[in-house]
Symmetry: C2
Subunit: 274 residues, 2 copies
């Protein structure tokens, strides 16, 4: 793949660099897009983050993350909605192409995933008018089913697209190979997403065998079992022409290496195996 299509999700280098250093490093490596996390923006302050990003000329392929809607009380659900409105404001200020939503799992002490899913739909519906007014598309990211209880109760592309159909304009999906590569329906659902112009982001990494930690053991492209060219072919066939965003949480490996080595490896693998 052409490096012009590469974006780096800054979680990939979160242990090595703050936002300013990460933007500088990406620029130096010829990378033209990033996806920062809210905590990374907060550390340097939104104003400085916006200034640095605009000055660098780097594009913001997405902003991580909104979501986490389910909560045990109405007050806590409202707190989440208010926080998501602030995330939309930040995404707009940063010029982000979308706000990625990791929708949240079960409320504390709950086993009612149906109710959690309803809270997600209600939460997104509550922030959608503000997102539309700010021209910030909401990218619902289906997360791997192993995250259903504690991170996201939207777990398949089909389910995310059903939610988009229900919610309407201003919503779409973030397709991350890590979460969806196993899905027997993935080809059909990506085609459906493309047909509806709902693919807002495409995230890449790899699934390692064995995987030693449910959250922080994602692999570099090429080191695992995901058929990345097949995934890319599906995405392209569906009409997606946006960034391919590398997002790797890797506590024991990539987070321990020098950031420049991580970026060099991302670029090399992006050119050769994606």
């Amino acid at each position: 793949m052409d490096i012009a299509r590469l974006s780096i999700n800054l979680a990939t280098v979160r242990k090595q660099w703050n936002l300013h250093d990460a933007v500088e490093a990406c620029t130096r490596h010829g990378i033209t897009a990033i996806d920062p996390w809210r905590d990374q923006v907060a550390v340097v302050g939104l104003t400085d983050a916006v200034r640095a990003i605009k000055a660098s000329g780097v594009r913001v392929s997405g902003y991580c993350r909104g979501g986490m809607f389910p909560a045990a009380s109405a007050a806590d659900r409202q707190t989440a909605i208010d926080d998501n409105r602030r995330a939309i404001d930040e995404a707009a200020a940063l010029g982000a192409e979308c706000l990625v939503l990791v929708v949240g799992g079960l409320p504390a002490h709950s086993r009612d995933i149906g109710e959690a899913r309803k809270m997600v739909a209600d939460g997104i519906a509550a922030i959608l008018p503000h997102a539309r007014a700010c021209s910030v598309p909401l990218a619902i990211e289906p997360l791997h089913p192993m995250y259903a209880p504690d991170r996201a109760c939207v777990n398949t592309v089909r389910q995310a697209l059903d939610l988009c159909d229900q919610l309407g304009d201003g919503t779409g999906v973030a397709i991350d190979v890590y979460h969806v590569w196993w899905d027997p329906e993935i080809e059909a659902q990506i085609a459906r997403a493309g047909g509806a112009k709902r693919i807002l982001a495409y995230h890449i990494c790899d699934w390692l065998v064995p995987t030693r930690d449910l959250l922080l053991d994602r692999g570099m492209m090429g080191d695992g079992v995901v058929d990345l060219p097949r995934m890319r072919a599906m995405i392209e066939k569906a009409g997606y022409s946006g960034y391919h965003e590398v997002e790797i949480f890797s506590a024991a490996n990539w987070w321990t290496k020098p950031g420049d080595e991580v970026l060099k490896t991302c670029i090399e693998r992006f050119k050769t195996v994606c």
Copy 2:
């Protein structure tokens, strides 16, 4: 739930007892059904296992396990098919109500999950005539998507039922709450399975938060986030009246406790939270 419906998958006590001791213990605790694993039968020998099980009067709700069909070479795929035919013979000798199939993941060095899924369909088709001749139903068990690469590339009930539709009589599904509880389609697919008389087994345990190991950190019923009464209601509504089989792989917890304590806890939780 009534203890008469309880079965113990002997993996739950595999570190504590051999097959003979496990059968004796289950009988002593008033448990009327078990599901032994092939390696547990092999240790004592099939003849002795059959003798002990018949003498105890315990029923065999299933036999674990056949499957593991995908392989890089035709010779290795044939080896798997031959081994599955022996598993069917053993299941028949034990009087097992079904042979549970954990179908296998990607062949070594492969990223082609579509091809692996085809190998699974071909493998089951190859053993099905023998299974029918022996009156041993084949219970295809969809495994959680986190096992797609290395244990089972059949990952949803929908996918397993599609496979049953393709293969025909003598096939069905094993529904294990651990693997399917998160599925947004689970209610509809369990209803579909029941309508087609295809629910051959129902396995219970719980999903812990956090889960510390992808394979060996399953929880006792009641200790996790699965809504077991809801799952039971779906299964019963679908017409299933067979055993509820406890299957817990728990390296750091239940496998370290005395077997009698494990069985007592299974019984108590089965009565109170399932």
